[in-house]
Amino acid sequence: MGDTDEEKLWVLQSRKGDPAAFESLIRRHQRMIHSLTFRMTGSLEDAQDLAQEAFIRAYRQLDSYQGMSKFSSWLYRIAVNVCLNWRQRERRREQVQANWAESNEALRSGGDSSNEDVLSQEVQTVLMRLPTQQRAAIVLTVYEGHNHAAAAQILGCSETTVSWRVFTARRKLKRWLSAKGVRNE
């Protein structure tokens, strides 16, 4: 399904510098982009920062959007690239992982969080252990429902590479989640 006429109009108006039009685009896509940035970082703070950065980059690159793909896919590609660059902030990433492990341990050892919260944290913890490119492949294919061809387009690599990353990531995730004793409800 392509972009709506309304969305095309917002893109055109945003290119002309209309902030209200770009605000409409942000409102439409902000939850999707935040979801991606959170899955990629495991941190609400970093997710917010990266979502902001993605929208700012998108605005500055609007002229390069040709309308050949859906606006959401184009925006997604920008956001994924922002997240992939985040891996360079290695120390911060390690800190986030340590925080996840710590809070996860606290949840497991008893607290007032729901079982769903605990399971969500377990999953996010193992996602954070994946190499960034594999995590991106999982986020795009599992959480966002892209097929491997579409994910490849977003990630700027071949479909075979995506398939291989997904395969490798799945194998690791199964092993890690099994080791943590996470079972189906």
């Binding site: 902030p19 942000i26 700012i56 999953v123 996602l127 599992v142 199964k174």
Partner: protein, 198 residues
């Protein structure tokens, strides 16, 4: 665990929810960042903490020094930053340098007056901002659109149509209109000085 089990388990993991206020304010924060990044020219001149002092600045220092010295004894001694909340002092400074004041900044080193080289500053409501990073505090009176370097990063001060003050930095955006704006370890207070007429 097979592929289907894994898929179910992964999809059952929720992204932590954010409240509606967050979704309402996020687009505005992005737009504020964009405005801050694209502001150019005399409306949003760039300046540094210690600043390149232009023509006439030395004279300005003398004058502001005199004015501040005159008023310093009258402001509350228990609040070292009360000086910049003194309406009469501010009006005097703005009268002395019409359309030239970019900012008045107070930090641990004292007070600095930042002037434009020409009388091209637009007339608008002054904004008071107080920023602390845990080690040091800065107090300043400036105008919407001004960019400065503070707490080790570029900070832009903006005022929106609703009367809120937006303070954006390289890695944060804060608004006086939001109850819990993100400020990355910075404690910020800001408000429009509506009572100061130029």
């Amino acid at each position: 665990m097979n592929d289907s089990d894994l898929e179910k388990r992964l999809k059952a993991a929720r992204v932590p929810a954010r409240d509606e206020d967050y979704w309402e304010s996020f687009p505005r924060l992005v737009l504020a960042q964009l405005r801050a990044g694209s502001a150019k020219g005399p409306v949003a001149p760039r300046w540094l903490p210690r600043l390149a002092w232009g023509n006439g600045i030395a004279f300005a220092c003398l004058m502001i020094g005199f004015a501040i010295g005159h008023w310093h004894g009258r402001v509350a001694k228990d609040d070292p930053y009360a000086l910049l909340q003194n309406g009469k002092l501010l009006r005097e400074v703005f009268t002395l340098f019409p359309n030239r004041v970019r900012a008045i900044v107070q930090d641990e080193h004292g007070v600095q007056l930042v002037l434009a080289d020409q009388q091209d500053m637009p007339v608008s409501t002054p904004i008071y901002v107080h920023i602390c990073d845990g080690k040091q505090c800065w107090s300043l009176v400036t105008f919407s659109g001004q960019e400065l370097e503070i707490a080790g990063q570029k900070v832009t001060i903006l005022s929106d149509a609703l009367g809120s003050v937006i303070v954006t930095g390289t890695r944060f955006a804060w608004s006086s209109g939001l109850p819990a704006g993100e400020s990355r370890g910075l404690k910020i207070e800001a408000r429009n000085l509506d009572s100061i007429t130029l």
